[in-house]
Amino acid sequence: MTRETIFNVVLALFLLALPFAAMAMGEPFYVSLATRMAILALAAVGLNLALGFGGLVSFGHAAFFGIGGYAAGILASHAFNAEPLLFAIPGSDQMPVIWIVAALAAGFAAFLIGAVSLRTSGVYFIMITLAFAQMFYYFAISWPAYGGEDGLSITMRNGFPGLNTAVPVTFFLICYALLMAALLLLWRIRDSRFGAALQAARQNEVRVAAIGIAPYRIRLFAFVLSGMITGVAGALFADLNRFVSPSMMSWHMSGELIVLIILGGAGRLFGPVAGAILFVLLEFLLGGITERWQLFLGLILLGVVLFARGGLIGLVAGKPRHG
């Protein structure tokens, strides 16, 4: 096993142990902290596919996160009020249904955004993805049917067949399982033909085209899949807070996801996990000391960018090896 693999296992076990340790210490609040880590990690795993593997610095992933969140909120509110959605389609308070809807809706949005923005690169790409996400944000704000600026509450956490999702540890385990499933998927993709083409296009787009692989289609597919994963994370986030609001779609959220990945290690399989654990811990520890904890986060980020380009994973495991 490589150092990176060992560290990945340590991270996975640490996150899994966290809520149980919290329960043992009689601090149930920490369970939701661990759940938050798992969900943010999942959202960042999605972004990592585009940003880390594909080199596509999307500053608009909050849109997909928010769309997933609204999918959960809207479906749940229709189910709760027993009002059909459009075309007599009923709402749903079942997580698997909600996840599928969240993934499809976010994937569709990612397709639209990606189809346009992937024709650009560099700073233009960053700005266009940001602009699209802000459009979704303002749309959500100005949509009174689903709470507008005030957001939308989920009266009861959505269910999962055979499980009691109201139990915090159960909900944590659901989130954790999805995170692991997404990591498994990304692990396979990273080492596959598709992953090779995607990572090669990040390193040298001219070369990839010169051998006959059109980078655009590869990137668009990665971007859509990336948006879908982040969308599912958004649905979970809404269920964690039992609340969804336009702030899930704000550029702060997009920035937060990028920060997570940089902290943990961009393009590293467990980078988002390391980043999410660090981020939530910092938010919790520093946030308890000072309102201006983001200032310290900024300093840490600066340190990472200047002195530890590979983030936490890079620091522990060194450069990636591509075989």
């Binding site: 080492d191 596959s192 090779a196 083409a197 001219v206 070369r207 010169a210």
Partner: protein, 249 residues
């Protein structure tokens, strides 16, 4: 006579007021090496870019294997069998030499939308890639990241990639540049054999190599072909000697 593999007619490309290529017509026939020589800035690289599709042709026609390919993008031209190397090596630096070639094998098989099988254990990728590396003498460096290869090794790797693509014609832009004498000699004898597989349009400054290899030579000066013919003809052409070989008329 059979139609040429690659047939270029009246190709022109302007950068602002500068005509980098000016009404260039050349062709490449089966089994031959056609060398393209000319002083720096003559437009040789520009012409290679136009043929491979990374620059849109200003005007003119490019026929490849009997079809007009002028409207196609880089990737599609490559899929049809135009294999090019770059004057300045262009590789995926983090990937090993082997993975650089594997990517070409993968592209040739036309199947990049596969998500689960691990490439490193896929012998349908690794074996042809290793074979190509062996042919250019790079097999023992297969696991080294492209970024860590020497200049000459990177040039070899570029050729291995073109080989792995199973190209129907090679466009080589100064493959000998910076290779050192021994490397140049090895590459010369390699290209000599390679022409039997697919014809080569060879841009090269190393005149020993050009005169040793070329079946035909075209001379490009200020974007125009000022002479084209067999090696002896070009060697003795007074216009060429003045304009390029730097001798008084």
């Amino acid at each position: 006579m059979a139609e040429p593999i690659l047939d270029i007619r009246n190709l022109t490309k302007s950068f602002g007021a500068l005509k980098a290529t000016d009404d260039v017509s050349i062709d490449l026939r089966d089994g031959e090496i056609h060398a393209l020589i000319g002083p720096n800035g003559a437009g040789k690289t520009t012409l290679m870019h136009q043929i491979s599709g990374s620059l849109k042709p200003g005007s003119g026609q490019i026929r490849f294997l009997g079809e007009d390919i002028g409207h196609l993008g880089v990737a599609e031209r490559a899929r049809r069998g135009l294999g090019r190397t770059f004057q300045i090596s262009s590789l995926t630096p983090e990937f090993s030499a082997l993975r650089n070639v594997m990517l070409a094998v993968q592209a040739r098989q036309g199947s990049s939308f596969r998500f689960f099988r691990e490439v490193m254990s896929d012998t349908s990728l690794t074996e042809p890639a290793m074979a190509a590396l062996e042919r250019v003498g790079l097999a023992d460096r297969a696991r080294i990241p492209a970024a860590e290869l020497s200049h000459g090794e990177r040039r070899q790797l570029e050729i291995a990639i073109a080989l792995a693509l199973g190209s129907r014609a090679f466009l080589l832009d100064e493959p000998m540049a910076g290779m050192g004498q021994e490397g140049s000699r090895a590459l010369t004898s390699f290209l000599d054999r390679l022409r039997g597989e697919a014809p080569i349009l060879l841009v090269e400054h190393d005149m020993d190599a050009v005169f040793a290899l070329a079946d035909r030579v075209s001379v490009l000066v200020y974007g125009r072909v000022i002479a084209s013919g067999r090696v002896e003809e070009i060697r003795n052409d007074p216009a060429v000697r003045t304009a390029y070989l730097g001798e008084p008329a």
